[in-house]
């Protein structure tokens, strides 16, 4: 009866506040690989030097039951302080940064610059034959820009994965 209640997949953005100690990232990643959960994106950096805490943002996908499991499994790790399912707990902002190298010349160069301007990408490096654009936005926006750059000479991409935070007064 209840066993098959909801088998549809959803994407979840989960933020985890952890002690910034050796091995903590391995614990989180090991949990995902050991139990067969997906990681679509993962970022980690220290956020509170005083309390020595880091924040991990994970984008994952799965059935409601699997996402529930992921949160429960993360919560029981000893160095984990808080697990927030940002999509579920209210509106949130998610942003990703990318450095994008485009190698092109002639008309394609002007076109690339024009599109970069439209997408509010900044030029952080330029040579006569190349640009490196820096761009911040939702992963969708980055995808759209990369698709446009493809025919213009997209050569290399470095993406950070998303950082996410709840809107309004709510804190983790």
């Amino acid at each position: 009866m209840a066993n098959s209640s909801d088998n549809s997949y959803r994407s979840a953005t989960i933020s985890v506040l952890v002690d910034n100690e050796a091995g903590v990232l391995a614990r989180v990643i090991g949990l995902f690989s050991g139990r067969g959960y997906n990681i679509d994106s993962l970022t980690v950096a220290p956020v509170d030097p005083e309390r020595k805490q880091s924040r991990i943002n994970i984008v994952t996908s799965g059935t409601e039951m699997v996402i529930g499991q992921i949160k429960a499994q993360l919560s029981r790790l000893v160095p984990v302080h808080r697990v927030a399912d940002l999509g579920l707990e209210g509106p949130h902002v998610a942003r990703e940064m990318a450095l994008i190298k485009v190698i092109c010349s002639g008309e394609k160069r002007t076109e690339a610059l024009r599109l970069a301007d439209a997408f509010r990408a900044r030029v952080v490096d330029a040579t006569t034959g190349s640009f490196v654009f820096e761009m911040t936005g939702t992963p969708d926006k980055l995808d759209a820009f990369l698709e446009l750059m493809q025919p213009l000479g997209l050569a290399e991409v470095s993406r950070t994965g998303i950082a996410a935070i709840a809107r309004g007064l709510k804190t983790i």
Partner: protein, 598 residues
């Protein structure tokens, strides 16, 4: 932490700080094996008398012995092994303790901090290797962290859902001076399991339980881990409600087997009545159990018409395999007490008429007598393994000593679960989750060390016992009077059974040629060896074993072809059980889908 600062005392060595912390944690016994990296600890052990060290013969056995100690006393078991192979040998034991939620603290030596990562002699990435095999682990890299980490390890091992915690100790940390700090007086900053259940959920659960027409209580090892008060609350609730009660393999003893409301164990080799009651119930109260695949069988067909209440201290156990209707996070004992209180206080009345009808149905299932077997009694008859266990049980009944039973893994384990009834918790020790052959003998060592005057029996198979047979030497050294009761069918019996039922009778590698003579083997380890070859010898051998105040190996030659029934084939549902030849009617087909399951 100014309070702690004042209490800081610098000790001569980290090893001394470690022992002081262990004493403060109430440790009386360590199970271990020395080696280069832990020599400073062994030196400190040598110079004190408060903590006893039991020298095992293999590091895996050290962990199983600590598990036996922990499970039979309700305390934390402590292991001490060296770096590299010492640590890797312990991994199986740690994984076993993790699966069965047994509180163990495992101290491992490590190469000095400046050599870590250099492929030094006997170096292994112990915290890396054991991360998925422990509840938590630590590498101590600074002397000032040592005492804090050891105290925290004990807290984590025994709090919430218990489990194994490993502390990796580089040799320089053990040799150099270190400060001692007492256990913290403040709560742990992040790990604080929820113990008290949500009262709203309890009320919801009781309302559902009172509406039940075909209820069942399904209790697991979590009730035992919670302590004797949880078992008492379980008994009281089951009696007050007149509900039927079944337990998992790990839960045996949490509810007395002699109670009329006990349906026996459920699951793959559970009783007919327990499994059909699980399948047919309309309200299920699961407590301290985790809907393991050996319990549920085919998930899609598991208890299809029931509303489910699940009490568990580990939120990740809830909705993992089976979606439940009323989740209750909390300690099993506290939740059961709250449930009982609410059951008595709330206005509704249970549907006693419907429950009486349900009992009539259950009694019909019981009448099948699914554990029945036929033991020919004329002299020379081959011994049925079930009969051997029943006689062992019956002949131990009059003994006025505490009785503990450990097992290895396989057919003998399932027969013991079916035919050796337990009245109290913490008396039955078996490897449930990981299914570790070789568990029983070292676990019996741990139990006997904790309870020197008790009768400790390892019900074993001839294949499993060989996996940690070296512990006979430990048994001899400490004069532990453990009794090893081998059901010897010369096969890896459960493997043979599956090959017969699922693989066309092709007994690939499951026959053990060249077995040792267990009687002589016992003697060579300074123990007593006995053997029963046919039915008329059985009782005498059991009596002699029980009357002997030394270690005994009783080699019971049993029927080689006996299978363990009832059996739910993998991939089948509870109502597709295969019964034994004594009452066979259905031989439920095993699907291809089932064949891939283990």
């Amino acid at each position: 932490m100014p309070a702690n600062e004042e209490q800081r005392e610098i000790h001569r060595s980290g090893a001394e700080v470690l022992l002081r912390a262990l004493k403060e944690q109430g440790v009386e016994v360590i199970f271990g094996y020395p080696g280069g990296a832990v020599l400073p600890i062994y030196d400190a052990i040598f110079q004190q008398n408060a903590i006893r060290h039991i020298l095992v013969r293999h590091e895996q056995a050290a962990v199983h012995a600590a598990e036996g100690y922990a499970r039979s006393t309700g305390r934390v078991g402590v292991v001490l092994v060296t770096s590299g192979p010492g640590a890797t040998n312990a991994v199986t034991g740690l994984a076993d303790a993790l699966m069965d939620s047994i509180p163990v603290v495992c101290l491992t030596g490590q190469v000095p901090t400046h050599l870590i990562g250099n492929d030094a002699f006997q170096e292994a990435d112990t915290t890396g290797i054991t991360r998925p095999a422990t509840k938590h682990n630590y590498l101590v890299k600074r002397a000032e962290d040592l005492a804090r980490v050891v105290h925290e390890a004990f807290y984590v091992a025994k709090s919430g859902r218990p489990g194994p915690v490993l502390v990796d100790l580089p040799k320089d940390i053990l040799i150099n001076p270190a400060p001692y700090t007492p256990p913290p007086s403040t709560p742990h900053p992040s790990y604080r399991p929820q113990l008290d259940p949500d009262p709203a959920r309890i009320a919801e659960a009781v309302a559902l339980l009172k509406s039940a027409k075909r209820p069942i209580v399904y209790a697991g090892g979590g009730v035992i881990n919670s302590g004797e008060a949880a078992s008492a609350a379980l008994i009281e609730f089951v009696r007050a409600s007149n509900f039927p009660c079944t337990t998992t393999l790990m839960g045996l003893g949490a509810f007395p087997a002699s109670e009329p409301q006990f349906l026996g164990m459920l699951g793959m080799h559970g009783t007919y009545e327990a499994n059909l009651a699980m399948h047919g119930c309309d309200v299920m109260l699961a407590v301290g159990a985790r809907f393991d695949d050996r319990v549920t069988g085919k998930l899609a067909a598991f208890s299809p018409h029931s509303r489910k209440i699940h009490i568990d201290i580990d939120p990740s156990s809830i909705d993992k395999n089976v979606k439940v209707d009323v989740p209750i996070v909390g300690d099993a004992g506290r939740a059961l007490m709250a449930l009982l209180e609410e059951w008595r206080a709330s206005p509704g009345r249970p549907d006693t008429k419907a429950i009486a009808d349900w009992w009539r149905q259950i009694d019909q299932w019981r009448a099948r007598d699914c554990l029945r077997f036929h033991q020919p009694m004329q002299p020379g008859s081959v011994i049925k393994p079930q009969h051997a266990i029943r006689r062992l049980y019956e002949l131990t009944r009059g003994i006025d000593r505490e009785l503990f039973v450990t097992t290895e893994v396989g057919q003998h384990q399932m027969w013991a679960a079916q035919h050796f009834p337990f009245e109290r918790p913490n008396r039955w020790l078996t490897s449930g989750g990981l299914g570790t052959m070789g568990y029983g003998l070292p676990a019996a060592v741990g139990v006997q060390v904790a309870h020197p005057d008790a009768l400790v029996i390892d019900i074993a198979g001839e294949a499993s016992i060989l996996m940690n047979i070296q512990e006979m030497s430990t048994v001899a050294q400490y004069r532990l009077p453990v009794k090893i009761f081998i059901l010897n069918n010369e096969y890896m019996g459960m493997v043979r059974q599956w090959q017969e039922l699922l693989h066309g009778g092709r007994y690939s590698e499951s026959y053990t040629a060249a077995l040792p003579d267990f009687v002589q083997l016992a003697q060579s380890f300074h123990a007593v060896g006995l053997r029963a070859k046919s039915i008329e010898e059985l009782d005498d051998v059991i009596r002699e074993m029980l009357a002997t105040d030394r270690a005994v190996i009783a080699d019971i030659m049993v029927d080689q072809k006996e299978n363990c029934f009832p059996m739910i084939p993998s991939g089948a549902a509870h109502n597709e059980m295969i019964l034994g030849p004594e009452q066979e009617e259905s031989a439920a087909g095993i699907t291809d889908e089932g064949l891939v399951l283990v």
